[in-house]
């Protein structure tokens, strides 16, 4: 069992260096034609990585809120619905969930008489969104609970109903507070979207894998892959900081 793995690692290690022990940066040398083609091939996966992540995060933010709200209910039944969802979903590792959604869910649909194909793109989006929503729900919970009880009471005494209290008083304050952890989750989604490569989604990691197979340059290609994610995450971080400044905090003067 271990032998083939060692052999594989050895193979990768050898392939990572050129025969003389030097790096083989020619694979992604933009001054050569083939190097430039390779770079374009790799970076063109960026679009799908971003698209999957953004759509999954958007769904997760909505589903997370829908899951979080019953958790704040005074009725026990609603709180149980919330707990079951959160505990169940967050206990499933991402990769098995991805396999289940991509290979299993179409069978479930078929048995229900539905013909809903799941392509790699939506398989990845659904898996990332659902998996992440359990964590987003917990983030919402901490945010909502951090708002003083007096805010809800004050909203009640000026006649606001539950929906209005949430919409105009509690959530605007809570979301400002949970912006940093939500941003963290978004970065997490971007990185986890790499798993989509195993179901054939043409995103950053898949592109790198495919090139490694033909070029035998894993060290250089995976190094570039890491840099691609790094750049993506740094851009997101800068965006979030801008958003935080724009929204300000409760205590702004």
């Amino acid at each position: 069992m271990m032998k083939p793995i060692f052999a594989l690692l050895l193979l990768l290690g050898v392939a990572g260096c050129s025969s003389s022990g030097n790096w083989g940066w020619y694979v992604i040398d933009p001054t050569t034609k083939s190097g430039w083609i390779n770079i374009k091939f790799l970076v063109s996966g960026m679009g799908n990585t971003i698209l999957i992540s953004v759509i999954a995060a958007a769904i997760s933010i909505i589903v997370g809120l829908i899951v979080a709200l019953p958790g704040q209910s005074s009725k026990r039944g609603w709180r149980i619905v919330n707990r079951v969802y959160v505990e169940f979903i967050r206990s499933i590792p991402l990769l098995p969930m991805l396999f289940w959604v991509f290979y299993g869910l179409p069978i479930v649909f078929k048995s229900m008489g539905l013909d809903i194909p799941i392509d790699p793109f939506w398989g990845a989006v659904i898996t990332l969104a659902v998996s992440d929503s359990a964590f987003t729900a917990e983030i919402y919970r901490s945010g909502i609970q951090s708002i003083a009880k007096g805010q809800k009471e004050a909203a009640q005494t000026i006649g606001l109903n539950y929906y209005q209290t949430m919409r105009y008083v509690i959530l605007p304050q809570a979301i400002r507070r949970i912006l940093p952890p939500l941003a963290n989750q978004f970065i997490y989604i971007v990185k986890m979207s790499a798993f989509a490569s195993v179901i054939g989604m043409q995103e950053l990691t898949r592109r790198a894998n495919e090139l490694v197979v033909t070029e035998y340059r894993p060290l250089e290609l995976y190094s570039l892959l890491i840099v691609e994610y790094l750049v993506l995450v740094l851009i997101i971080s800068a965006g979030v900081r801008w958003l935080e400044r724009r929204m300000g905090s409760d205590e702004r003067h």
Partner: protein, 246 residues
């Protein structure tokens, strides 16, 4: 009493095993000003919070304009906004400007047009003497100003009665009078008020009725002259001597 706006009959409440309200009987007539005082933990805040359903009572009856208050959400919704509340900690919405704090209820809960709501908000800001702070955030105001904004926010709902839950207890001493002045004016304009406070100067000036509570009970209930000149019980005498000795 038929013209009672608020009526509490044998109201009892428990927090777990703790019997926090014991057979509370009290009426507030239209235009009447009732001041509730008593040592901390005596249940006086719980009384006012029960009147506008921030707390549920377990036994007895509370009526507002003749209608019994139940825990039916419709009943709760119908009184909130009719019964204004001013909190010890102001509870202004920190993410909204002063003007937005004032217009939120009228626009969203009452469906008032924005321009009318703004007009009304400016009117009440004038009345609590901070007309030029409308666009500031609550955190940019002093405590006294914040509490006056909170009073204006309640007034914007044009409530039938205003409840005050220790409105000056969280304020620095030099800001207490600016809030009390506003409250005295409201009283003089005929607002029905139930005020939990230790400010006995204010009580002497405006109260029609004094209620003294201790350990969840109403121990004394009388007009202010009799209350201050001649308290009937030892507990009340002790309390008054403690808070009036300075």
């Amino acid at each position: 009493m038929t013209d009672a706006m608020i009526e509490l009959v044998d109201v009892n409440k428990w927090f777990g095993d703790f019997h926090v309200l014991k057979n509370i009987n009290m009426t507030v007539g239209a235009g009447e000003k009732v001041v509730i005082c008593g040592p901390s933990g005596s249940g006086k805040s719980t009384v006012v919070r029960s009147i506008n359903r921030l707390e549920e009572h377990q036994k007895g009856t509370i009526r507002f304009n003749g209608a019994e208050l139940t825990n039916d959400p419709k009943s709760v919704a119908s009184i909130q906004g009719e019964i204004g509340m001013v909190f010890q900690q102001f509870n202004l919405f920190p993410h909204l400007s002063v003007l937005e704090n004032l217009t939120l209820g009228p626009i969203k809960a009452r469906g008032l047009e924005r321009s009318k709501a703004v007009e009304r908000a400016r009117h009440y800001l004038e009345r609590v003497r901070i007309p030029d702070q409308a666009d500031k955030l609550p955190s940019q105001l002093s405590g006294g100003q914040q509490q006056r904004v909170a009073i204006a926010r309640s007034l914007c709902m044009e409530p039938k009665v205003l409840l005050f839950d220790e409105p000056t207890s969280a304020l620095d001493p030099e800001m207490i009078s600016e809030v009390l002045d506003v409250m005295v004016e409201l009283a003089q304009d005929g607002m029905t008020m139930v005020v939990v406070t230790h400010e006995m100067g204010f009580a002497r000036k405006v109260a029609d009725k004094m209620v003294f509570m201790d350990q969840g009970e109403i121990v004394e209930q009388s007009d202010p002259q009799a209350f201050f000149a001649n308290p009937q019980t030892e507990r009340c005498r002790t309390f008054l001597s403690q808070i009036l000795q300075h």
